[in-house]
Symmetry: C2
């Protein structure tokens, strides 16, 4: 048990400030599991039996209705997902599938709820994480309602550039069709939006994006902390 596979997630905001004892109890019935690419992990509507932590690989959250499908988020390691369904003991609102080979830690939801009541550090972390997710989703809604597709893409690129830590170039972390769906448009429309952004300082080659004129792109995109600063 010492040096367990769960050590990798101990530093996550969600677990960092809970007692060792609580962490041990939380992970006692948890297990680490590997999944191949393109495997559906979760079907929306299923009961939320486990809190999921992505340790390596990549997972897509998506939703369907009436034969249509939309990508809601791409999860990168190391982070948790579907915390809200877990704490409410409610059905998942989104489906999840691996995009590539992935390893996940599955923690019984029951344990999460129990330890939440006993460990104030964990409780605070859960509240913070939920509030953060809520605010991220509000931002997504604002993006969808206040911006057209070119503006959504332009600001998405600026955010990704910021995340990459680079000054001008970065790699798209998801396939373009996934990016398109995430941004609420078709792949064809994304392709055209990229073309349109050439006039605003963006160059694309495959998944390789170069912001050749940052000021110009900013002038077009008008990024705003209340829509684009997902960290806060």
């Amino acid at each position: 048990m010492i040096d367990s596979p769960f050590g990798a997630v101990r530093h996550l905001d969600l677990f960092a400030r809970m007692s060792d004892e609580s962490f041990l109890r939380l992970t006692r019935a948890a297990y680490l599991q590997s999944f191949p690419a393109q495997l559906q992990l979760i079907a929306e509507g299923d009961p939320a039996d486990f809190l999921h932590v992505l340790v390596s690989g990549r997972v897509e959250l998506f939703s369907t209705w009436n034969g249509r499908e939309t990508s809601m988020a791409t999860v990168h390691p190391v982070s948790t997902f579907i915390l809200a369904a877990t704490v409410r003991d409610a059905p998942y609102l989104m489906s999840a599938r691996t995009v590539e080979k992935s390893r996940l830690i599955l923690i019984p939801s029951q344990d999460v709820r129990e330890i939440f009541e006993q460990d104030i550090g964990f409780a605070k972390a859960i509240v913070n994480e939920l509030a953060r997710c809520y605010r991220a989703t509000i931002r997504t809604s604002k993006n969808l309602k206040l911006r057209n597709s070119q503006e959504r893409l332009a600001n998405y690129l600026l955010r990704q550039l910021g995340k990459s830590g680079n000054r001008t170039r970065f790699e798209l972390l998801a396939e373009k069709r996934r990016v398109a769906s995430y941004l609420g448009m078709t792949p064809e429309n994304l392709s055209r939006a990229f073309n349109a952004l050439k006039a605003h300082g963006v160059e694309v080659d495959g998944s390789h994006v170069t912001i050749v004129d940052h000021d110009k792109l900013v002038a077009f995109a008008c990024p705003h902390a209340l829509l684009d600063d997902y960290a806060n």
Copy 2:
């Protein structure tokens, strides 16, 4: 202090299961205030100094970007709003204005955060409320991305009918232009969507809506628990 104006909110999910002592401490520095119609209560980006509880009247949450504005929600009494910004001590993501004359209870955010750490009943309620809001917002995003404007309106009407408790008729609880903005369309487009829904069993006269053929509307709207059942 006995029979204080805060008794009206004690039964809310958020406050119902906290100790009397905690509730007293929470409301010690709180105050009840009346506001006229059309007054801006909150500007997005401001620090979240108070948790707001609407006691009577009506409040609209909205957001702006680049000269555009969209309605995010209409708050009806008795309920809280902007809990997430309060617990994170972060700036508001949405602005708020009264739609009609309203009374609100303002609770210092600092007190909310302090008592959260000391009262497990309150902490549980906050987590539940945050998770509920998060899930409601996910549903809103799914609505925007998976449905066109007629489908959004059709399902909105079915939800409002359910809330009203009636079998066929109900009143729109917000002005049509607000409904339009909430649903992510223009007032003109809403007007046309209402016309289109005549063919699916909907009749409108001002703010008075009659579902003359419920089965027909359901057949068109295809409501789904994971998109439309906001309570859960």
